[in-house]
Symmetry: C2
Subunit: 442 residues, 2 copies
């Protein structure tokens, strides 16, 4: 009875004293905004929270060179200071399709890695938003990893979408659980409302886990198997935001775009922001053709298209080799910082805290033993803030259907923005806080 | 009976064969996208259609200097290549509030021109979209000028909003008609669904008309008078996109932000894209506080915030005087091109075509005598395309409730992107096409 009573409540609220729309009335400030503001407001705070990137290695000179070269070629420069098309610059779309095909070890760009299916967006966040808007009505269902990318949970909530959590294992979603969930949705008839399975497949935010190719295949098989019951494609939204931030030499598994049947149901979301510069917000997505068209129209309505100037900087960085050189530098940098964070955790955290060393990405996911809690109202979080160190409480990364203790036991620690000294000091302080809180609760 | 039957139709469609959301199913490609693509696809086409800006005067060197200077100040540069906050850079918000206060001849930034109420967006299109999303549910009502900015009509349609057209006179909306409309809405009880009055108050797109201060006051008075019946503020969304593109020395009328009562109901939308560079998409809006907060949350969901790099370029251009110097250059340039277009129209168009010379902006609005039609299916439009010249058919600028002949008789001609030679040739060709079509219909 709960959903219908909340619907009634919305109806009663429909004449808001300020005239706001129903959806706007229910929007909550996203936790990311609050966490980002803490960092920007308190310069002395050591933030191991926000997914900001490393400031030391930002491509200042590279960007300067690219822009300076344009001043020597005025006609080219004029083109990039002008409006463009909604889907994005053609050359950037070609470079993007080719790049993902290379990463997927595909011989050519082919049916799935197709420039005409690439949409350039204002960060990959915008792409995730557009996809969700294009596919989901209020009450629709999206299956998510548990834990998952917490900003995406805000998008789902905003659209009134039901998320169903599938436990995440070291190599990806628990496939048996996924199958049980699909079967249950089929039996209840709700599978018609299931639109997507969302996975963050590389160095996942927040756990840094990778989804194996075997699990990607199993997910694809399951999606295809349950589509006739659904009456429409069950889309696989693969968020590959951290794919290029690997520390090792072995490339992580190919994306789902490389699998048979991908052209009908795989939606690939990627970004150039985190690998290059988050201040130059360029993300992208590859989708099945009919969906791609709709996404272009939606984006046209929202902002006409991504700023040409930003797109052109990335285009130049990619085609000149600047991007790849830069990537080499930051991979090494993040590997070093990750290693440092892990060593410090080993030194300062109690042995009962469980975590594993990441092989890429920006995060360490640490779980405290029961009954310690990490939430924003917990003694631990408050004591950490008092010690001027900030983490992301793990609870933000769980869907509303997860009520167990795992919701309250974890923290996401980022080595993205902090330098080595801050990592040392931040983890030391946090270790002290954890030790003292655990002493109290034991 | 029509609305409910169309609702039923949507319900039946709810399981779309591709799983699209109800809203996405109904989206149509915006006419602007189609028009822009024509221009980009056919290099020989003389486009007097799209609102592209002048390529010759784009600030190539200015932008190069700004970016180059950053490479000398690495710590500053790093900040602008990083994520920022959802509402936008503080300094840019301060500069923006001060700039609009100056334009409004206000002594200080005060209660309405308040940096904390400024939201920086990815072009003003995004701001208009966010405001509409925040205020309107499907079935809500927005009063619009007739004709109005055609891209905004796409936004209204997408959100399922009813637009009610108020005829535009040379100095703004027909106030008597506006009052009658408000009274009718009050009588029918529908005024509770009325959320906004939307006006493009400076060098309007498409007519280049300005709204006088007297009319702004009258609109404000009417909005206030009918608010108790509405049960919430009736917002005045003032789209000032072309405000800075005036040709003369006399500044156009102050904005509605300067009027008593503005802080509760005026939403001001502005842009730096058209005056500076459309490839550097930075727009902004000023709104009453509670609405501003909601807009920030919505933007956080959609894209986290506008790219710092773009914001920082504008910030520097504004604070260094580069922006104002550039504005001086492009104003003169557009004045010259406008003058040339008017002289060519006078020479080549039949005297029975009515139009008036603009005092700013990018457009001439020309109306043909009955029974000539200008729509995309008309003989005139097709013959123009064949002659390789493109205009915006006037019909795109009218709400669905306008059925009279004015819908089919006008064209919007832009002198924004075309150079003098193209204006000469484009208007000459168009004049020939009009003459020949009018001969046929007379």
């Amino acid at each position: 009875m709960k959903p219908s009573s909340s619907k009634k409540k919305l109806k009663t609220l429909s004449i808001h004293p300020r005239g706001f729309s129903l959806r706007a009335q229910s929007i909550e400030p996203p936790p990311i905004a609050w966490l980002m503001e803490q960092k920007l407001k308190r310069p002395n705070l050591i933030s191991l929270a926000a997914g900001f990137t490393d400031p030391e290695t930002l491509p200042v000179e590279e960007t300067g060179h690219i822009v300076h070269a344009w001043t020597q070629h005025k006609s080219q420069a004029r083109e990039i200071l002008q409006y463009g098309t909604g889907s994005g610059r053609e050359h950037l779309r070609i470079l993007t399709a080719r790049r993902i095909a290379d990463l997927d070890q595909m011989p050519s760009t082919g049916k799935t890695h197709d420039p005409s299916k690439v949409l350039i967006t204002h960060g990959s966040q915008q792409f995730l938003y557009l996809v969700t808007e294009a596919l989901c009505d209020p009450g629709d269902i999206v299956l998510i990893e548990s834990p998952t990318y917490f900003v995406y949970l805000s998008i789902l909530k905003y659209f009134g979408i039901q998320s169903r959590s599938i436990p995440l294992q070291p190599d990806g979603m628990d496939i048996q659980h996924l199958e049980e969930q699909l079967e249950a949705l089929k039996k209840s008839g709700q599978i018609k409302r299931l639109k997507m399975i969302y996975l963050v497949s590389y160095f996942q935010n927040p756990t840094s886990r990778n989804t194996s190719l075997a699990k990607k295949k199993a997910m694809m098989d399951l999606a295809r198997r349950y589509e006739s019951a659904a009456g429409h494609p069950i889309y696989l939204l693969e968020d590959a935001a951290y794919r290029e931030l690997s520390f090792g030499q072995t490339p992580p598994a190919p994306s789902m775009l490389s699998l048979p049947g991908a052209s009908k149901r795989v939606i690939y979301s990627g970004t150039y922001s985190k690998p290059f510069a988050t201040g130059i917000r360029v993300g992208f997505g590859i989708s099945p053709s009919p969906l791609h068209q709709t996404l272009c129209h939606l984006k046209g309505n929202q902002d006409f298209g991504t700023a040409e100037f930003l797109q052109a900087i990335l285009e130049k960085a990619l085609s000149s080799g600047t991007y790849d050189r830069h990537l080499g530098v930051i991979r090494k940098g993040y590997a070093k910082k990750s290693d440092r964070m892990c060593r410090m955790i080993q030194r300062h955290f109690p042995a009962s805290v469980s975590w594993h060393p990441p092989e890429g990405g920006l995060y360490v996911w640490a779980r405290l033993p029961q009954p310690n809690q990490t939430g924003p109202q917990s003694a631990l979080f408050k004591a950490s803030l008092k010690a001027n160190v900030l983490y992301v409480p793990g609870c933000y990364a769980f869907g509303d259907d997860v009520l167990g203790p795992e919701r309250q036991e974890a923290m996401r620690l980022s080595f993205g923005n902090a330098n080595l000294k801050m990592i040392d000091e931040g983890i030391r302080r946090l270790g002290e806080v954890i030790q003292s809180i655990m002493k109290r609760t034991s």
